[in-house]
Amino acid sequence: MDKQKLIASLNEIVGPDNVLSSEMDLMLYSYDASLDKAKPDVVVLPDSTEEVSKIMALAYKEKIPILGRGSGTNLTGGTVPIKGGIVVHFSRMNRILEIDYANRTATVQPGVITLDLQTEVLKKGFVYQPDPASQKVSTIGGNVSENSGGPHCLKYGVTSNHVQGLEVVLNDGTVINTGGKARDNAGYDITALVVGSEGTVGLVTKAILKLERAPESVKTLLAIFDAIEDGANTVSAIVAEGIIPATLEMMDNTVMRAVEETIKVGYPLDAACVLIIELDGMPEGMDDNASKIVEICRQNHVRDVRLAKDEAERNVLWAGRKGAFGSVGQVRPSYLCCDGTVPRTKLPEVLNQVIEIGKKYNLPIGNVFHAGDGNLHPLIMFDERDEDERSRVLKASTEILKACADAGGTISGEHGVGMEKLKETAFIFNECDLEFERQIKRAFDPDDIINPGKMIPANS
């Protein structure tokens, strides 16, 4: 379809103010928080499911690539329009439609910022559990598409475990509802398939999320280690002991220093790494459990274990953790995050390999990650303006993901495959696995117009 005609048709659907097509606007939708870039042909900001349905029907009729976007915080190029086409920016669809405490659900539009919902429900003593580090800016639509994790997912599970139903606009513009306020709906679990599909099966226009009562009591510990290995061994030992805290996060010296530049947390800057360990739930028995954890830390040569004495101290500890990615900009301007995940017992071994790979390619690597889940996030720091450095970074990243896969792990725990890890899917999938995924994709999108070029490598 001629671009001017496309714009005219979109103008009719959403009004000209909500169709962006200047060179500048297209450039500004060519990126997300990853390293990839590609320009769309047009950007559209719908305000309702109806509008989204019409946009989708148009894309379907004209076979134009289309993809959804929230705050564009994706770390693997998931929201980069590699094949051009229409970017649907959900910033205007940001309403909390209903909070139904009696049924323990919140119904929201995809553009709602995760933390905004969480702040709202906390007023009544409820929580929506998934807490990706980007929750201050990331949207529910993005969280759903990527099946986002977060520190507390160790105990409470990832986004998928907290989505009860979705409204999805299918490839031809049909609007369907999956799941609902009632659980255990008969039929295939389409909700589970859409969550984590990286926006490749449809556009999510509404989500019904599960709310839970906020835990009665929370205890946050900061365990300080003089050797990374001790920290990693502690993580494995805690899990092996059969203790599942609410969080079990690790942060190394490099990252602590970077964070401390912007947020004065008071991390011990001479330590090799820290663990942020949080327990929550009923207070009864929590002290015993905390003592057990401290004992395990001691057996692994911990230097000191500090207890956050109040909510304010706890908040600042978390602010530091959740701001860690962005703050590595204090060290080098760009970073690549490898989201490889391993069985928790393999953590010390793989972490060592990561450090070796950093040395091999002469690249600074910071580690801040969901240790309890075995979900590594080595942040390779560099300056993307330096071509040579950039190419070394990509090699190092592939090698790290290979190490994770070889340890019985996977190439992405929570950030998705996107376009950045397409070739690395070969580390974990064989052709049959991929073909099955392609069949699923075809069931939803036979013309391959919805976020094409993502998640599943093209048939070789």
Binding site: L20, S22, E23, M24, D25, M27, L28, Y29, Y31, D32, A33, V43, L45, S71, G72, T73, H89, S91, R92, N94, I113, D116, S134, K136, V137, S138, V259, E261, T262, I263, G323, A324, F325, G326, S327, V328, G329, Q330, P333, S334, Y335, D383, E384, R385
Partner: protein, 381 residues
């Protein structure tokens, strides 16, 4: 400034933006417009693409770059501490050179050069606000020498809605026995609007003039009711005098028992941190201490306060370049104030008072907007 110069000046800083997007929800114009070009991340990307010759500066980039409120909220939440406000102002210089900048900015410069104030008024009328003070002899506050110079600023001098601010400040100082003077017709615009307009080089003339006049008075202290004048003096002037915002001076006077509060003030008030006073110059606590010293008044904080305060919509010359946007930002601000249950919003800036009061009136929002000086006078009477 051309692209080559911009690259030299800004490239390393703008490259620190790793596009994490944490600034999006803190950018008031993004929250209103909901498109990337109105966000801090988007504006930094424009600068970067321009430097890398991937994007030409044109009317579109002009719109994006000149609608930044310069409030600095993005940097407050930026984990890489990218100095976006500075980058924007540098980019504006480039836009000006390329000829893509708002007509109002062009007119503003002309007016400043000719009239030395932003309102294109006669400089002789600068002290007109004194008429608000009953039975005051003409030019009562214009002395040859004094301990303190009260730098009034253009907005408070010429906009009737906020002329009570200098009047109240003068009354406070007078009643506390402060030896002060104003510069009257010899006070020139501090030059702040020129930075926002992308023409900082034109600030020099203003600066030289003002410094000379203050030196002549021999004052050891300069006091400002306008946070932007205060901020400009702080960051762009080199003066030996002690610079104080009105709130700082008033708090000293309270502590020294030079002024006393006799009247109970009823109601629930919140405080809006002006961007240039709080985040951009670091004055957070003095205004709060004054408010807490007022008998009877109930004080509630806004959820986003101090370093994270949300702009009223009056910053960055946007009121001139895109009044609708400015009004929408103000409307959002009013909503957040009403949401904490306040009937009054206090602030310490004539521009914030103007923006919020105008918006409250137009939208028929039941809210009292007061400068701190007014609150202090009310409680003193």
């Amino acid at each position: 400034m051309n692209i080559v110069q911009l690259k030299k000046l800004s490239y390393d800083e703008v490259a620190k933006c790793n596009k994490c997007g944490f600034c999006l929800p803190s950018c008031p114009t993004y929250l209103v417009k909901k498109a990337e070009s109105y966000s801090a991340r988007g504006r930094n990307a424009i600068t970067r693409f321009a430097i890398e010759n991937k994007l030409e500066l044109n009317e579109d980039t002009e719109r994006a770059i000149f609608t930044c409120l310069g409030c600095g909220a993005c940097t407050a939440v930026c984990l890489s501490s990218v100095q976006t406000k500075d980058l924007i102002f540098q980019n504006r210089e480039c836009q000006v050179d390329a000829g893509f900048y708002p007509k109002v900015a062009k007119r503003l410069v002309k007016i400043l050069e000719e009239s030395h104030n932003i309102s294109d008024e006669d400089q002789e009328d600068r002290a007109e606000w004194q008429e608000l003070i009953k039975e005051l002899p003409e030019d009562a506050f214009e002395k040859e020498t004094a301990d303190v110079v009260f730098f009034v600023g253009c907005v408070a001098s010429f906009f009737p809605m906020v002329q009570k601010i200098p009047a109240n400040m003068a009354k406070i100082m007078q009643s506390a026995g402060v030896d002060f003077t104003i510069l009257g017709g010899e006070e020139w615009c501090c030059g702040f609007p020129l930075i926002g307009a992308g023409m900082p080089e034109k600030l020099a003339a203003m600066k030289d003039h003002n410094l000379k006049k203050v030196a002549k008075v021999g004052a050891k202290t300069i006091v400002f009711t306008c946070p932007s004048c205060y901020h400009t003096w702080h960051h762009f002037y080199k003066s030996d005098a002690k610079l104080m915002h009105a709130s700082q001076l008033i708090l000293e006077l309270i502590k020294d028992k030079k002024i006393e509060f006799n009247k109970n003030i009823k109601g629930v008030a919140t405080y809006h941190d002006p961007c240039d006073l709080g985040r951009n110059t670091g004055v957070y606590e003095e205004p709060r201490e004054i408010i807490k010293a007022i008998p009877g008044l109930e004080f509630v904080e806004l959820p986003m306060n101090r370093k994270f305060s949300v702009c009223c919509g009056g910053g960055g010359n946007v009121e001139m370049t895109d009044p609708d946007l400015s009004a929408q930002v103000a409307q959002t601000k009013l909503a957040s104030i009403k949401a904490v249950g306040a009937d009054t919003v206090l602030t310490a800036c004539q521009q914030c008072v103007r923006t919020m009061e105008t918006r409250a009136k137009r939208s028929k929002t039941d809210l009292v907007v007061k400068d701190l000086t007014q609150l202090v006078i009310e409680a003193m009477e």
